[in-house]
Amino acid sequence: MRTDINKISEQSPYMDLTEGLHMYAAATSKDFKTGEWRTNTPVFEADKCKQCLLCVPVCPDSSIPVKDCKRADFDYDHCKGCGICAKACPFGAITMREGQ
Amino acid sequence: MSNQTLEIRWHGRGGQGAKTAALLLADVAWKTGAHVQGFPEYGPERMGAPITAYNRISKEEIRVHSNIYTPDLVVVVDETLLESVNVTGGLREDGAIIVNTAKSKDEIIPLLKGYKGAVYVVDARKISVETLGKYFPNSPMLAAAVAVSQVMPEADFITEMQASYQHKFAKKPEVIEGNMLALTKTFDSLREDLKGAKALVEM
């Protein structure tokens, strides 16, 4: 990573910003913990889940990790708690809880 | 404009090649080492609409980028323009006008709104049909402009045009001879009239 986004903040003076605000780096969104914005939290109930994976493609934040064709628990570092997955689940395996 | 610059105005109709003739003249004059300008006055006009093109030719660098208002020479590629366009407007009395027509000089002079300078006529249709089998007024009128202005010696002009046609018509060499003949025939047709005439502008 050639641009360390941790060294650039909303307080940086203009001299410290990159030319054209280019990011000389990739996948920097991994370091941006949007999970902090969550006001409602999805809860995964594994025993109700049939592994149909309908929840996975509808997640706007790619916060449902899939391994060997099976979903795992949420990536709470990036889940913003929008609740779309809960609506998409036909088996009631995702419920929304108030708060973080 | 300095009097060492020959200024020419061409009047034609869109599609007749007046612009091309002006650009060809710039080209051939450039080859003799002159500074040149060849440019059309552009508009959205299409085939058949009156168009104007210009040449400046000088031994010095040409910096003026305006149209020409007091030309030394006017070339009228289509005689029907004599009615609709003021072709002699601003034309210098010590200059000349060339009209492409089958009419005689005496028939043309009354149509020139009292212009008192030298008048030349060239039957470009006849020359073109005889030499090329079709009506292309371009080559005869270009030759006439060189003959009347005397901007370069006839022999130099012929040599340069030979080379230029060889390049331009590399893929249809059969038309080169006809075009060359059109040039020399035009010079021949004007020879009598030009006896004793001087170059329009001494450079």
Partner: protein
Amino acid sequence: MAIRDRMSGNEAVAYAIKQINPDVMPAFPITPSTEIPQMVSTYIANGECDTEFIPVESEHSSMSATIGAEAAGARSLTATSSCGLALMWEELLVAASNRMPCALALVNRTLSGPININCDHTDGMGARDTGWIQIYAENNQEAYDNFIQAYPIAEDKRVHLPIMICQDGFITSHAVENIELLEDEKVQNFVGTYQPEEYLLNPGKPMAVGPYSVSNYAMEARKNQELAMEASKEVIIEVAKKYKELTGRGFELFEEYKTEDADYIMVIIGSAAGTAKQAVDDLRAQGKKVGVIKLRVFRPFPAAELATALKNCKAVAIMDRCESYNGNGGPLGSEIMAGLYRDRVFIEAVNYIYGLAGRDFTVNHVYDIFSELEDSVVNGNKIEQFKYIGLRE
């Protein structure tokens, strides 16, 4: 040895492009710049250069594709005129703010309406605040020379900004004039190969171009862009000096023609500068102390340099080939006058609007303007602060 030739302004720019052999040229035809992409595609078809030509469906796309190609790491350019430039408007700012050193061959033409295809500077002046460097040409030679200098300026590390090389539509673009060309090798050595440090198609070194910026970043980004434009001035001068060493030709920010002892100076842009210089020679022969400043670089604007160049004259005529519709004159008039005031140069200054939509500008107009300036200074006759020249009244 310089190669002597004769070419139209469009041919000259197309020839420069062929010699530079840039990587990508997306373009859409529009009068009077159409011949440039047409000729470049012919060069490509004949194998004389290997630029990737992208035929696009609009100028919005040609500028977008130019930016995309440049970001990918390709030396890119396009050409346009008039409404074509207007349709690029959004992308012009994107190119500049993303610091893309791409080039644009602008053949100046007015904008509607009334609808008209002829020359004035409405298009270029309309884009004056988009963050592009703008360089204007008097003749075909300068259009060629300026284009060869485009990439060495734009790609300089201190700059990284897009550059617009402008010439007057029809007046130079379609006029055949004498020209001196450089050998291909000299052009290629002068321009060099493009080696961007960072670009999108660079395996193992990913980057992002054009990220969204919240307010906390955007103003700082603009400041950096503005500083690059300021820095481009010295780069333009350096490149012009280097080019002059190579060819013996050219000017830096502007040309000062017989201004040293001049009482009256005309500041003018583009092909009309040649006409003005001829008129100055004619008037000098009559003993009039007159001169011309031909502005080459409009962006960055050399305000202080112009104020210094004008400080010893009695009056200046500032010539705008563009109407600003602000009741206050044209863009060149406004900017020079602001510069004069800032540097406390209090001379008589009159802003003239000329040559709109192809209206011819002649040596007689120049005589009239100088005579009016002289009358104002000598006899105290007031001149309107901005006025049209060559208008039927």
